[in-house]
């Protein structure tokens, strides 16, 4: 049995309640031996990361809550020379502030940058999954409880199997079996607006064909002349936009290192 978090990025409104609730619980509140008090500012045991993609007016934003992954094979545990870090029966990983000597070995060992250093107290500190609350009758950590859109779920990994199916984890290549799962993290997009520069009208229903190394996508422009190809992996793409009676527009070798807004694309009528 192990506790896990499942976060649906598509349901996250970016309100920061999770980050703020974590601060309310831990900043200035000493929960030793689960955790010493977090400094008033500067540490983010849960940090909400804002990701802005695209350029005006094709801009999309998503937010990713980052916290300790409470990994099954947590590298911090082995890195600690003082046995200050341990896994609870419920899978949550705790740094015992009474045993931590402030050597920072765990901070170097964590590939997720989830551990912070408290200069004043000379302690390594991080998310405890609010274990002090779980042991006292509460059913969820503060971040989950404060989420107004139910984008965060907390529970037994087994019970969450349906939600975990198809979900991603951060840096899976670490092989540490992280237990914070993310659903619906958007990848890159290619988007634009197609218009007729003579009539000054958007072109509705234009066919947009996207190709990357033999893989194909197809869509048509909507009521606003817009097309969106979302969730594209990083790669090189060729795009052909065509519509009856118009010369096609062709874009080759579009690089989706970042999301691409092709802007307002003129489509010229055939002579």
């Amino acid at each position: 049995m192990a506790k896990a978090f499942v976060i649906d990025v598509a349901r996250c409104s970016g309100c920061f309640n999770c980050q703020l609730a974590c601060k309310d619980e831990h900043a200035g509140n000493d929960w030793a031996p689960y955790a010493a008090a977090q400094p008033e500012i500067g540490q983010f045991w849960l940090k909400l990361q804002e990701n802005v993609q695209g350029t005006i007016p094709k801009v999309k934003i998503h937010y990713i809550a980052k916290l300790c992954n409470h990994c099954e094979k947590a590298s911090c545990i082995g890195a600690c020379p003082n046995d200050a870090i341990y896994r609870r029966k419920d899978g949550l990983i705790i740094i015992n502030p009474d045993k931590c000597t402030g050597c920072r070995a765990c901070i170097s060992a964590c590939p997720y940058n989830a551990i912070y250093f408290n200069e004043q107290k000379q302690l390594a500190q991080k998310c405890t999954g609010c274990a002090h609350l779980l042991d006292n009758g509460y059913s969820t950590p503060r971040c989950v409880e404060a989420c107004p859109t139910d984008a965060m779920v907390f529970g037994e990994e087994e019970d969450l199997a349906d939600l975990i199916e198809g979900a991603a984890v951060m840096s899976p290549e670490t092989g540490l079996h992280p237990r914070v799962y993310y659903r619906n993290i958007p990848l890159k997009f290619i988007a634009g607006t197609v218009y007729d520069p003579v009539e000054k009208e958007v072109v509705i229903g234009a066919s947009c064909r996207l190709n990357s190394g033999g893989k194909r996508w197809h869509t048509v422009t909507d009521e606003y002349g817009d097309f969106w190809f979302e969730d594209l992996p990083v790669g090189l793409y060729d795009l052909v936009i065509s519509h009856d009676g118009f010369e096609p527009a062709v874009f080759n070798s579009l690089k989706t290192g970042a999301a691409i807004n092709l802007g307002d694309i003129p489509l010229r009528k055939k002579e």
Binding site: R11, C12, S13, G14, C15, F16, N17, Q19, L20, A21, K23, D24, E25, A27, N29, D30, W31, A32, P33, Y34, E40, I41, G42, F44, E50, V52, G54, T55, I56, P57, V59, K60, I61, H62, H132, N136, G137, R142, E145, A146, P148, T149, T193, Y195, D196, K200, E201, V202, I204, E223, Y224, G225, D226, D264
Partner: protein, 910 residues
């Protein structure tokens, strides 16, 4: 573990920051006399089984009330607010203000404070009140009581000074302008009536109707993820997700990719600030020229459409309001304007608002507001799915709510204070005054309250909040209309002032004949400089030698407080006993018992008790009359009795359970949605306009002010006028080429919560620059930043003729070029008082003039500025020339703080 389980205390405290109504409850745990944590309130199984939780069913899906209050960042962070280093901990006196000698009014906003005793502070204020009254008459005291403080009832945040001043024989009332509704109130009302504020009314059953019948949602200047937070909860967010899920398309028309658009928009149409009129006229132009509007509806439901049509087509002025014409004005591509007009013509669409924000709070905001109603009219307003709906204040002025959480019983909460009371003679029982008297039913249930609610004479003189500075500096002011929120200036034969748009045409002059000008100010809403028009001018006014004494009462030392001569420390609601009422957070309505989570910080007391202590110095009779001889706990007890809740839950049970959740009304989906009655039968369900119809040509304006170039009978595009010259086409734009947009902050409620240290770590709340100071962000498009050599995080100055505001550059793709964006409400931190602010208080440089010459609202968004990077040399120059401003202590986490404004020796007392 230093804290205990279970906590010593678990209290229920509200999180709303609206004023009298309390809003959603939070659970506040305390240990050893200190707040430990603040959590959302959960509705347990029993509640959910017995209280008819509401749901909306549409298109095969169900939207349910959440099982808890969806707490906001303000509620969550309030511990930081209670223990803020910004708290006023004891009475303060400005060090160089001597009521018996030199008053140094010119040093207000500059000089520091010393601690004095409660006894001394109360005595000074009592003596000043008596002296001013005897010298000039009672109207020489301006009472700046208002709204949008903490939601408190038995010791309200606003209006306590009014009660005491009424007892003393009167005062001059600061009349709040219709700040949330300017365009609706001064404009839309003349199209569709819709009393009291000009937004669509009624709002009954709107969201179930929209979910069933609409397929397009136009979020016009609306941010459903921001504006509702201080008032409602996150329920609008959940609703937006659901409406998208069932297939409704969301189009956002706004200069910024606001927080709602960021996560809910299917289409974002960026538009230059305050140019919506051009887009709206072009949409009308397309519908008229393509014959795609509802002509039958217009024939039967509209008045004066032909004149409007002539203006749109250019028959009147030779300028067709075509997409080509509009595109240049509003910055939206011609093809996108046409696409929006055609998509809207094909679909069933509602327009959504969080009251309107910058869209109806700019120069000439009457015009976009009026045009919106006309466009809705051309689509058959009132038809299923065709509405103007609100994402905020679902309970306000609504018998039945747009989201069906209203209780089957409405508690009759007494309102003890009259911050917004009308002036002499105004006894309109329908809208406002009713709140401030004890109804016969309430009196029967709680006779103990009778003395507390004894009515005293109403004030004889008032000044709109938008004109206080001019009234003081020029000794004279005149304006049109603007009475207490909705009531008329002209009493009818029963001496009732009925809500009507007619009184907007009445000219009013200050000072009234025979009454004194202002010589003293008393504020319980010290946010004028950071929330109203031209804050720098207000600072100058507060330094005027006519003003002999300024008194502030507030929990935090901020903004207008720096200009006060005496400051009283006020306790937050977490430190007091109260009776909370949640009519707005959206899952259920409820009444709850609020008990102190901790001792009052320092020597702070409730707003009610601040005035009681002054009353005590005036004499026993004043104290008795003011307090009604009731303690705070007694007021809670008898207020509960007055609400009528005892018929449902006894006081004993209520004390034990601390909350009475009211079962939801059932069958609300059967109520006619919005203006369905008018749609179906306009003759028998007329609008509150003179003709009863949708007035495309206003008959009232035609009658009273037909030649007003700034608000004529037909809404128009106004390039510039006598009141405002704030367009990119202006000559001023050569020096100030950016249109500054300003909205409600996501991390503040107006001026409240600027000091929540954890919110301040969010980058769109504050940007910590290289000098370590947390600057208010100014959003700037990547291209505008590049033009000016500005990088993300740079210290920049935002400026125009009215002054300079320092900000941190937030370089982004979320804002249209040629503009910048700063939230209102950041706390003032003056370097040169009245000229240069470091705190990011953008309203210090907002326009002076009102909405227009004859519309007495404020214009605080869509004005010209320029932005430059602040060089090290420039900053060093300020540091050299104004060392005392830079020497003030700034808290690393919370920003400006009490210690910065105390004389040196007092800092140790902290």
């Amino acid at each position: 573990m230093s804290k205990k389980f279970p906590p010593d205390k678990q209290n229920i405290i509200s999180f709303s920051l609206m004023g009298p109504e309390s809003g959603g409850p939070c659970l506040v745990d305390s240990n050893d006399g200190e707040i430990t944590r603040i959590r959302p309130y959960f509705y347990d199984e029993e509640v959910r089984e017995t209280c008819n939780p509401w749901e909306i069913n549409a298109r095969g899906k169900t939207f349910r009330a959440p099982n808890r209050v969806t707490i906001t960042p303000f509620g969550l962070g309030y511990k930081s607010r209670v223990y803020s280093p910004n708290r006023v901990k004891y009475p303060l006196k400005r060090v160089d203000w001597d009521p018996k000698g030199e008053r140094n009014p010119q040093n207000r906003g500059k000089s520091k404070y010393v601690r004095i005793s409660w006894d001394e502070a109360a005595q000074i204020v009592a003596d000043e009140l008596v002296r001013i009254k005897e010298t000039y008459g009672p109207e020489a005291v301006l009472c700046q009581a208002d709204m949008h403080g903490e939601g408190k009832n038995v010791s309200p945040s606003h209006g306590c000074p009014n009660r005491l001043l009424s007892l003393m024989g009167g005062y001059t009332l600061q009349m709040r302008n219709m700040d949330s509704w300017e365009g609706w109130f001064w404009g839309a009302k003349h199209v569709w009536g819709c009393e009291p504020v000009g937004e669509m009314a009624p709002q009954a059953n709107l969201f179930p109707d929209i979910a069933k019948h609409a397929d397009l949602l136009l979020f016009w200047g609306c941010d459903p993820e921001t504006t509702p937070l201080g008032v409602v909860s996150h329920l609008p967010s959940r609703l937006c997700y659901w409406l998208s899920e069932i297939g409704l398309k969301s189009v956002y028309v706004c200069p910024d990719l606001n927080y709602g658009a960021a996560v809910h928009a299917d289409k974002w149409i960026p538009i230059l600030p305050n140019t919506d009129v051009a887009l709206q006229l072009a949409i009308a132009y397309i519908w008229i020229t393509e014959d795609s509007y509802d002509k039958e509806y217009i024939a039967s439901h509209a008045y004066g459409f032909e004149k409007f049509k002539d203006y749109v087509l250019g028959v009147e002025d030779g300028v067709p309001k075509s997409p080509e014409w509009a595109s240049e004005k509003c910055g939206v591509a011609e093809w996108t304007i046409k696409a929006l007009a055609r998509d809207w013509a094909k679909k069933t669409a509602s327009i959504l608002h969080g009251n309107g924000g910058p869209y109806i709070r700019g120069p000439y905001s009457t015009e976009p507001a009026r045009l919106e109603i006309m466009l809705l009219g051309m689509r058959g307003l009132g038809k299923p799915g065709v509405h103007q709906a609100k994402m905020i204040e679902w309970n306000l002025w609504n018998k039945d709510y747009p989201v069906p959480f209203q209780g089957e019983f409405v508690p009759k909460m007494p309102h003890i204070c009259d911050a917004l009371r009308p002036v002499d003679g105004d006894v309109d029982p329908g809208i406002n005054m009713k709140r401030f008297v004890l109804s016969p039913d309430q009196e029967k249930r709680a006779p103990e309250l009778k003395e507390l609610f004894r009515q005293h004479p109403a004030p004889q003189q008032f000044i709109p909040r938008t004109l206080i500075h001019k009234a003081i500096l020029e000794g004279h002011a005149e304006w049109y209309g603007l009475q207490c929120f909705s009531s008329s200036q002209q009493p009818d034969k029963n001496n009732y002032r009925k809500p009507t748009s007619e009184y907007q045409f009445e000219k009013i002059v200050y000072p009234r004949e025979g009454l004194s000008k202002l010589h003293m100010m008393w504020t319980d809403a010290p946010c004028q400089v950071t929330c109203w028009n031209h804050g720098n001018l207000m600072m100058e006014a507060m330094q005027h030698p006519d003003i002999e004494c300024i008194v502030a009462q507030h929990p935090w030392l901020e903004n207008d407080c720096y200009f006060a001569d005496i400051i009283f420390p006020v306790a937050t609601k977490h430190e007091l006993n109260d009776l909370g009422n949640d009519m707005s957070s959206g899952a259920f309505t409820s009444i709850y018992l609020e008990e102190p989570c901790c001792e009052p910080v320092g020597e702070s007391v409730s707003d009610f008790d601040v005035c009681a202590r002054v009353a005590e110095k005036l004499g026993r009779e004043y104290y008795d009359a003011y307090t009604g001889n009731l303690t705070e706990e007694e007021r809670v007890r008898f207020f509960y009795a007055a609400t009528g809740c005892e018929d449902y839950m006894s006081w004993e049970e209520f004390r034990k359970k601390k909350i009475y959740v009211i079962p939801c009304k059932t069958n609300t989906e059967e109520l006619p949605a919005g203006l369905l009655g008018f749609y179906k039968d306009p003759e028998n369900n007329p609008l509150q306009t003179p003709t009863g119809l949708l007035e495309f040509t206003s008959t009232a304006i035609e009658k009273h002010m037909p030649d007003d170039p700034e608000r004529g009978p037909i809404p128009k595009w106004i390039e510039a006028g006598e009141s405002h010259d704030e367009r990119l086409s202006s000559k001023r734009a050569e020096k100030y080429p950016l249109l500054c947009m300003s909205n409600h902050g996501r991390w503040r409620m107006h001026a409240q919560c600027d000091d929540i240290v954890w919110n301040r770590e969010v980058e769109t709340m504050k940007i910590r620059a290289k000098d370590g100071y947390q600057y208010e962000p100014v959003w700037l498009h990547t291209s505008e930043a590049a033009k000016r050599g500005i990088s993300h995080g740079d210290i920049v100055k935002v400026f125009n003729e009215r002054g300079i505001v320092l900000c941190g550059a937030y370089v982004t793709e979320r804002l249209v070029p040629h503009t910048c964006y700063v939230d209102h409400g950041a706390r003032l931190d003056p370097i040169i008082t009245g000229k240069l602010d470091r705190g990011g208080c953008i309203n210090s440089i907002t326009p002076t003039s009102q909405t227009s010459k004859k519309a007495s609202g404020m214009a605080v968004s869509g004005f010209l500025v320029e932005i430059e990077r602040v060089t090290d040399e420039e900053m060093d120059g300020w540091k050299r020339d104004y060392p005392e401003a830079f020497a003030r202590k700034i808290d690393e986490a919370a920003g400006v703080c009490l210690a910065g404004w105390l004389m040196g020796e007092d800092e140790e007392v902290m």
